[in-house]
């Protein structure tokens, strides 16, 4: 993938924005258990961060995917995983289907404000009894004239408290309809019958609002269906590819920063009469991780290039997400270990990083689900 002067400039803008507008507030947002999504997204929308690849007709920049890579990597440099995850939901998890398959009216009404950062979006797939096995979802949308009547529960929904609309996956066909009986529906959270039943308390990503959502006879127009009714599962599987790619881009930025900071610490901290960095074991261990992050970075670039050529990136995105999840756990563990006691302290960045990094192997499909996809792609069955 070729980075131009414009990519370089954009990287600088995002990096400065993260340093000045996000990082100084992260501690307060973590303590509050929520970051001000509307306020922050409005600023990001103004700068064009939230609709890089989208049609200019809906306020997008019409740029290619390589700029999403830059955005993802640089947001990884936030002081914590919450903001990059929430932005990723807005740009690459909750909106790609709407952009791809949505009607013009639906895009004007919900995509354009999301691109401007005026509306916060969320992706609502997981349920108490269906996470890895998406086809087991039970939230039902029953057709009544021109309306869907929706009943059910969604769980672990990022941006769940602050979202203005959800990209909601529901069952619209009969109970037995399996993969062919689901639909994606734009669900405005102001709808009667909708409520946030719980704000969830989490190990990490503590500045992100994760919620359990409840639907009781909530009515939305059938016109809010994204693409074709009955094709929701298939559309969501495509949208998952974007989700997994952005997760892998974020992880590279997070790990770059973590390794830079750990190397800087080892240069300063002395033990046994010399800086820790002079210890070959520590130095080589970090060098090895630097190498692995670089492999992932360039694997991501290959994935992005394939995506830009219009190829199916299921295999690329699955491998990138799997390896990102495993590697970031290793990096987070090593950074904490090499900091010693201070690394275990809440005042040191390593503690938050250690907690936040853990999500990559669970969200967006657990590692084992990635292995399941890969096993099948490799001719071994699921």
């Amino acid at each position: 993938m070729q980075f131009t002067e414009e990519h370089h400039q954009f990287r600088r803008t995002v990096r400065d924005f993260v340093e000045r507008e996000i990082n100084p507030h992260c501690d307060a947002w973590e303590a509050a258990g929520l970051f001000p999504a509307h306020e922050l997204f409005a600023r990001m929308g103004e700068l064009g961060f939230l609709g890089l690849e989208y049609d200019p007709e809906y306020g997008g920049a019409g740029a290619d995917h390589s700029f999403t890579v830059v955005l993802g990597e640089e947001l990884g440099r936030c002081s914590g995983g919450s903001v990059p995850m929430a932005v990723g939901v807005q740009t690459d998890m909750a909106t790609p289907s709407l952009h791809r398959f949505g009607s013009h009216e639906l895009k004007q009404r919900y995509l354009a404000p999301a691109v401007r950062g005026e509306m916060v979006a969320a992706i609502a797939v997981t349920e108490p009894d269906a996470g890895s096995d998406v086809a087991a979802i039970r939230t039902r949308a029953e057709r009544d004239g021109d309306e869907w009547v929706i009943n059910g529960t969604k769980l672990y929904i990022t941006n769940g408290i602050q979202a203005d609309w959800l990209c909601l996956l529901c069952r619209t066909g009969p109970e037995s309809s399996g993969y062919t009986g689901m639909s994606q529906i734009v669900f405005p959270t102001g709808t009667d019958g909708f409520s946030v039943s719980r704000k969830l308390d989490k190990l990490g990503q503590r500045a992100s609002d994760t919620a359990e959502l409840s639907f009781e006879d909530a009515r939305v127009p059938v016109a809010n269906t994204i693409g074709e009714a009955g094709q929701g599962f298939q559309q969501q599987m495509v949208q998952f590819q974007n989700e997994r790619m952005i997760a892998a881009y974020n992880a590279v930025g997070q790990m770059d920063l973590a390794l830079e900071r750990t190397i800087a610490y080892l240069r300063e901290r002395e033990a046994f009469g010399r800086p820790l960095v002079a210890n070959q074991y520590l130095r080589y261990r970090l060098a090895e991780l630097v190498a692995e992050v670089d492999l992932l970075r360039h694997y991501n670039y290959a994935c992005a290039a394939a995506y830009m050529r219009g190829e199916d990136t299921t295999r690329f995105a699955t491998i990138a997400k799997l390896k990102a999840g495993r590697l970031i756990r290793d990096v987070a563990d090593t950074c904490m270990q090499f900091h010693g006691g201070v690394g275990y302290m809440e005042e040191t960045w390593t503690a938050r990083f250690f907690r936040d990094a853990r999500i990559v192997s669970i969200g967006g499909g657990a590692d084992e689900v990635m292995l399941r996809v890969l096993a099948e792609l490799s001719g071994m069955g699921k």
Partner: protein, 255 residues
């Protein structure tokens, strides 16, 4: 309202800084817009907006034909740029720099020239005043605020105690202090638009400037590390520590 803004492109202060054998700063690789100049760019854009039109032109001198810092300022909203690049320029002293920049400014019709009080890599702090002299412009320095009223310019000139109000006639040159406005971020749209904005690259010969040997009248004889900071004084509180602290502050003329 046509405004020329002097911008310097410098090595990223976040990266390692190295000196050449002749004690000048290494300027290889990517350079960035000096943060000190981003304030001048922002002020120029605001003045153009309130004037309802005109051009903001950037003028820069840099080695290796480097344009990255200029692109950033163009992405913020400046209209065009002139870059003076010349194999003979690296290491140029302040007076040479001033002559070259004055020559480049002279290619434009302008009402106002804006520069930073000093660059954040060189800290020489004389270039704007030299340029004013060379161009025969009134020099208004250390501005924290600029107001234009017809052909009159008024600035608030920062002083240790507060500020002075200084007035002059346009065309004029103003140097602005760092941190006085919030420079806008280049938006994605701005970055893409910057790609198509005119950026003229010229040499010293093109400017018809004669410079008396590029190192002017300066010679650097030696460079030394800054002295290590001496240990501070610890005051143990025995109930009267405040007296000694007050005395110390008084001695430093802080009180």
């Amino acid at each position: 309202m046509n405004i020329v803004v002097l911008v310097k492109q410098i090595p990223d202060p976040a990266g390692p800084q190295e000196l050449n054998a002749d004690h000048t700063l290494k300027r290889e690789g990517k350079l960035i817009l000096d943060e000190s100049d981003s304030y001048g760019v922002e002020i120029a854009l605001q003045l153009r907006e309130s004037a309802g039109g005109g051009d903001v032109t950037l003028v820069s001198m840099a080695p290796n034909g480097e344009t990255s810092g200029l692109r950033t300022a163009l992405a913020m909203g400046a209209d065009d740029a002139i870059l003076v690049g010349d194999d003979a320029l690296p290491g140029a002293a302040a007076l040479t720099t001033a002559k070259v920049l004055a020559g480049a400014i002279g290619r434009k019709q302008y009402d106002l020239v804006i520069g930073a009080v000093e660059s954040s890599d060189g800290y020489v702090g004389v270039v704007p005043a030299m340029i004013a002299e060379l161009l025969g412009l009134p020099s208004l320095t250390f501005a924290k605020k600029i107001d234009i009223d017809g052909s009159v310019i008024r600035i608030e000139r920062q002083t240790e105690a507060g500020y002075d109000e200084v007035e002059g006639a346009l065309p004029a040159l103003v140097s602005v202090t760092a941190g006085v406005v919030e420079p806008r971020y280049p938006s994605f749209k701005g970055i893409m638009a910057a790609k198509k904005k005119p950026l003229e690259q010229v040499t010293v010969a093109d400017l018809g400037v004669s410079v008396p040997g590029f190192n002017g009248n300066e010679e650097v004889t030696s460079v030394e590390d800054a002295p290590a900071r001496a240990a501070g004084e610890k005051i143990e509180d025995d109930g009267t520590a405040f007296e000694r602290i007050v005395a110390f502050l008084d001695e430093q003329k802080v009180l």
